[in-house]
């Protein structure tokens, strides 16, 4: 049985999930303090079988500590860790059904590539012949068989990454933990490696928990994206949910392309809330549980939902001066100066629309339903 080389196992892996839903990982309110500093403050998370989960957040938000609690490298002060439905909170790393890929890969400097990759199987006390066979298979499927007798010092960054991945995957763990696994790679390599890892994850059905501060990674890879800040979870959901419906001002601000406004609700009428902000008053559509007049709220508008061709439908308008234009190939981003001193981002797709020059004043508009009122906890 070689899950790393045979794509056919996907079907087998999916079937039991439908019949008997089982969680690969469950975190129940884990907490971790270092002296006065709270690194993780009550994180709860459920990871279904074979899910690709990305823990996304700025540095120091507790995502790595959370991952280390799952690995058993840190013991949470409070809360529980369940792997495959089994309580493992107090178990050491070597008694958990996980493998981990470290940020700088943590390859053993004194071992050849073949030895590194064999290490996990040796720990599982597999017969020698089987280990040799499996190592050869895995090295071949990761296209690093030619490196078998080399030591890490003589490998390139991309090669080290493959060795680290092969070393972790060969034991076929239930969960693979990845701590910024492509952060050490050249930028040009990252996209290729990301795609390979995504395909590998889908093929093997092993749950991936991927820690990153790079939202491009999180949104292009994750089935579930968990946005963290200050030791707690701000929002978890599919990439679409987080991109389209950010729950908090932090999430909206952290995710690229959002314009965040903070203000006070003036009045609420027929599904619309009027919010007074330092940049003006705006109408925001509200959901089933609308805020009350006087509430402090925040909302956001995505840069691509704004237009400079304002019509009657655009109930929210704003006049501002363009201070910079950034060109990304498919998108042209205009940076405007808002009345409250913050910036307003406006994205234009393609080359057809009229350009706005730097220094030019424009009237920009958006509809109430283009904006999202944040419903999560307010900072």
């Amino acid at each position: 049985m070689d899950t790393l080389a045979q794509p056919s196992r996907v079907d087998e892996a999916v079937a039991p999930v439908l019949a008997r839903p089982q969680l690969d990982l469950e975190l129940r309110g884990i907490r971790k303090r270092y002296g006065d500093f709270t690194a993780v403050d009550g994180i709860s998370l459920k990871v279904a079988k074979g899910q690709f989960v990305c823990l996304l957040g700025p540095s120091g938000c507790g995502k790595t500590t959370t991952l280390r609690c799952v690995a058993g490298l840190e013991e949470p002060d409070d809360g529980g860790v369940l792997i495959g439905g089994k309580e493992v909170t107090r178990n050491p790393p070597w008694q958990r059904d996980i493998a981990m890929m470290f940020q700088d890969f943590a390859l053993f400097p004194h071992m050849t590539v073949a030895k590194q990759v064999a290490f996990g199987l040796e720990m599982l006390k597999k017969p020698k012949a089987e280990i040799a066979k499996r190592v050869h298979e895995v090295l071949t499927s990761f296209e690093i068989a030619v490196l078998a007798d080399r030591k890490p010092a003589s490998l390139s960054g991309g090669q080290r990454q493959r060795v680290a991945l092969a070393r972790a995957m060969i034991t076929e763990p239930r969960i693979l933990l990845l701590d910024e696994p492509i952060g050490a790679l050249d930028y040009s390599l990252r996209e290729t490696v990301m795609l390979e890892l995504k395909l590998l994850q889908q093929r093997t059905g092993i749950s991936f928990i991927w820690v990153t501060h790079d939202q491009n990674e999180a949104f292009s890879l994750g089935d579930l994206v968990v946005v963290m800040n200050h030791a707690h979870i701000e929002q978890q959901g599919t990439p679409e949910e987080i991109l389209q419906r950010p729950a908090t001002a932090f999430v909206a601000g952290f995710v690229q392309g959002n314009n965040v406004f903070r203000g006070r609700v003036v009045e609420v009428t027929a599904g619309l809330a009027k919010v007074a902000t330092a940049a003006g008053s705006f109408l925001v559509s509200v959901g089933p549980s609308p805020p009350l007049a006087g509430d402090e709220v925040s909302f956001s508008v995505r840069a691509e939902r704004i237009t400079d061709i304002v019509s009657d439908r655009h109930l929210n308008v704003l006049s501002a001066r363009c201070t910079a234009v950034e060109y990304f190939g498919s998108v042209r981003r205009h940076i405007f100066e808002r009345a409250d001193g913050e910036v307003l981002k406006y994205d234009q797709f393609g080359a057809h629309a009229a350009r706005i020059a730097v220094g030019q004043r424009s009237t920009l508009g958006w509809q109430p339903e283009d904006s999202v009122l944040h419903t999560g906890r307010v900072e």
């Binding site: 490298l73 070597w94 940020q103 943590a106 053993f108 290490f119 996990g120 720990m123 030591k151 890490p152």
Partner: protein
């Protein structure tokens, strides 16, 4: 980038002072020593014929040969004891002591005795090991023994005890350095690959500290082989090693015999160092990281 190219003529001049010093105090004396050890005949002069007689005389004497053997055994014992002890201390200091303040305090406590000279430290053992010394007093006070144990001072045991305390530091120092250079992620990676702590130590930590162990062993080896002061002080006149023999011959104006022993001692040391270098390439220390 340095403006001095590695093999430029200018860079050679930088090596001249050190080279002249080494030539004067190391190379020339050694050449003289080797030369003198082959001098034969009755007169002691540069016109003496060169023979192997001095060496033949040394190896013909069973006492000397036994002394040479016991020097090797003694040194090997010291290497083993200080190696294990030094490694334990180094591991404890770097891996187990978490607080930086405690680590510094313990490290200082560990090295403070080394601020005095070897001879003073050797002499300091006498009131400790003697018949009415601290150890015997303590043992009798605790009731382990009724009468003082005489085996401590002027004995092989006493010499070993004193030398262990003198040289454990040398075995531990390089290991501390090597342990500190192991990234914590390496041990963690091994643990997540299902390796329990003992296996992590044996498969990851120990191999990575091996160069430090070997350097420490070389230091202990060289020092114990050449340490006549401790042996003379604590061994009294009952015990001697090769290095004491050199002194004995020298004081008896038997310069040729002293040279022979000195040369043999040097050969032993060279063999030891070459053997160590074959185990670990000390020159490439840390190159893997």
């Amino acid at each position: 980038m340095s403006t001095i190219r590695v093999r430029s003529p200018a860079s050679y001049w930088l090596a001249v002072p050190a080279a002249a010093w080494m030539l004067g105090v190391v190379v020339v004396p050694i050449v003289l020593l080797v030369w003198v050890s082959f001098w034969g005949g009755r007169t002691f002069s540069t016109t003496s014929p060169l023979t192997f007689d001095n060496y033949a005389r040394f190896f013909a004497n069973q006492t000397y040969v036994k002394l040479a053997m016991s020097t090797v055994v003694h040194t090997a014992t010291l290497m083993a004891v200080t190696g294990v002890l030094g490694y334990c201390i180094a591991y404890f200091l770097t891996m187990k002591v978490r607080s930086p303040i405690w680590r510094m305090a313990l490290f200082l406590a560990f090295i403070v005795p080394f601020w005095t000279s070897t001879l003073i430290r050797a002499i300091a053992w006498i009131p400790f090991l003697g018949v009415n010394g601290v150890i015997n007093q303590t043992l009798m006070f605790v009731g382990v023994t009724q009468s003082p144990i005489e085996a401590f001072l002027y004995s092989r045991t006493g010499i070993t005890m004193a030398q262990v305390s003198l040289y454990t530091m040398m075995a531990a120092g390089p290991v501390v350095y090597m342990l500190n250079s192991i990234a914590p992620a390496l041990r963690e990676a091994a643990m997540t690959l299902k390796a329990p702590p003992l296996v992590v130590f044996w498969r990851i930590v120990f191999p990575l500290t091996l160069p430090g162990v070997v350097i420490g062993q070389v230091l202990v080896f060289l020092n114990v082989m050449s340490d006549f002061a401790t042996v003379a002080t604590i061994g009294g006149n009952k015990h001697a090693l090769l290095s004491n023999l050199v002194l004995l011959f020298y004081e008896g104006s038997q310069i040729r015999a002293a040279s022979v022993v000195a040369v043999l001692l040097m050969i032993c040391m060279l063999i030891g160092v070459v053997a160590a270098l074959r185990v670990v390439d000390i020159r490439r220390l840390g190159a893997d990281r």
